[in-house]
Symmetry: C2
Subunit: 206 residues, 2 copies
């Protein structure tokens, strides 16, 4: 069994893991809002101003033209079927930062909730892997799960308020990735990936 080096003992995860970064994709690494906005503008012909920067995590409460969750989910499904998860832009600086972290012995564990759509699992996982490959994002684990707080990491990065709360409810360390819809959450907080490598490495130390 692999042995955890003594200098990383405080960063341990499970029997043999250490320096594990649990990394959300949408809203953290990938510009989901921008991608969905582009899809909606193309489909509806409405201007960008009808799809403002969301100040609430729930897009039916953020001024977007969705009156019900069902309507939002139908649009999300249509966008995914049209290849949304291959088309997203990376959040600025994330590719460089993750490559630097990986070089610093960080095990990058992608933890995403993207599999909530029935019938689209194969496309979602293939598009996700293709996107990570396309942008040269290094990763060693790829987990699709809604129960994120039971996938351990030394440090998680997430933007969704309910996810941050559930990680903290079980004693997990979470770095809140700064978005207008999570301003009410306590830090630590990451405002940008640009030049963030040292800051993230310091947080690994506890």
């Amino acid at each position: 069994m692999r042995v955890v080096p003594p200098e990383f003992e405080s960063q341990r995860v499970g029997a043999t893991g250490y320096r594990v970064l649990g990394l959300d994709l949408d809203g953290v690494c990938a510009d989901y809002t921008g991608g969905l906005r582009a899809f909606c503008m193309e489909r509806t012909g409405l201007p960008a101003s009808r799809f403002p920067e969301p100040r609430h995590y729930d897009l039916t409460r953020s001024g977007w033209p969705f009156s019900t969750t069902q309507q939002y989910l139908e649009t999300h499904r249509a966008a995914v079927e049209a290849g949304l998860f291959r088309a997203l832009r990376p959040v600025p600086g994330v590719v460089e930062c993750l490559n630097e972290l990986s070089a610093a012995q960080v095990h990058i564990r992608i933890v995403s909730h993207r599999l909530f759509l029935s019938g689209l699992h194969e496309q979602v996982v293939a598009d996700t892997a293709a996107w990570l490959e396309q942008w040269g994002i290094p990763y060693m684990s790829l987990c699709f799960t809604g129960l994120k707080d039971s996938v351990d990491a030394t440090l998680h990065v997430d933007d969704a308020p309910h996810m941050v709360e559930s990680f903290r409810a079980v004693g997990g360390r979470v770095l809140v990735f700064d978005q207008p819809y999570n301003e009410h959450l306590a830090g630590p907080r990451l405002t940008s990936w640009i030049g963030a490598t040292d800051e993230v490495l310091r947080l690994f130390e506890g």
Copy 2:
């Protein structure tokens, strides 16, 4: 946040999860040995007798014509590139049993180490999702990771001796899926998926 029903409190995982079955694929759900044997026979022209039922987890120590780990890995890679993960046969009874477990409120979390091949991630994850779909295996989480013992579950099922040991080292409950190469491990042990639903549900209770 989702609430754990009181009758499942002893089956809890994380803040909101319960009845989570952490399920390995190769050697547990999918007949990896049989699939690799068929590939090797086709490629080498050697008879099935040259690829005996492995009595050691390491195929270089089980009478297969691999003299080094490197040689085994090259063959594994060639088989995966040729579509091994779509072609595997399910282990008898697994499809029916997992459908029954899913109907009994079990959250099936696939936990596989298949991503150890560089450059093949997209194919591996797509082929895995396609295979699960093709055989009608219900699942709610799909995790590719080598650090399995930090992906929690109420009950794990695995066949690999080192994985069983690492789950137990961190206090996890593991059901050993019976294979000739894991006979030395202490139980509980699952000898077959056929008719196993009640047995698995009892083990969830602790």
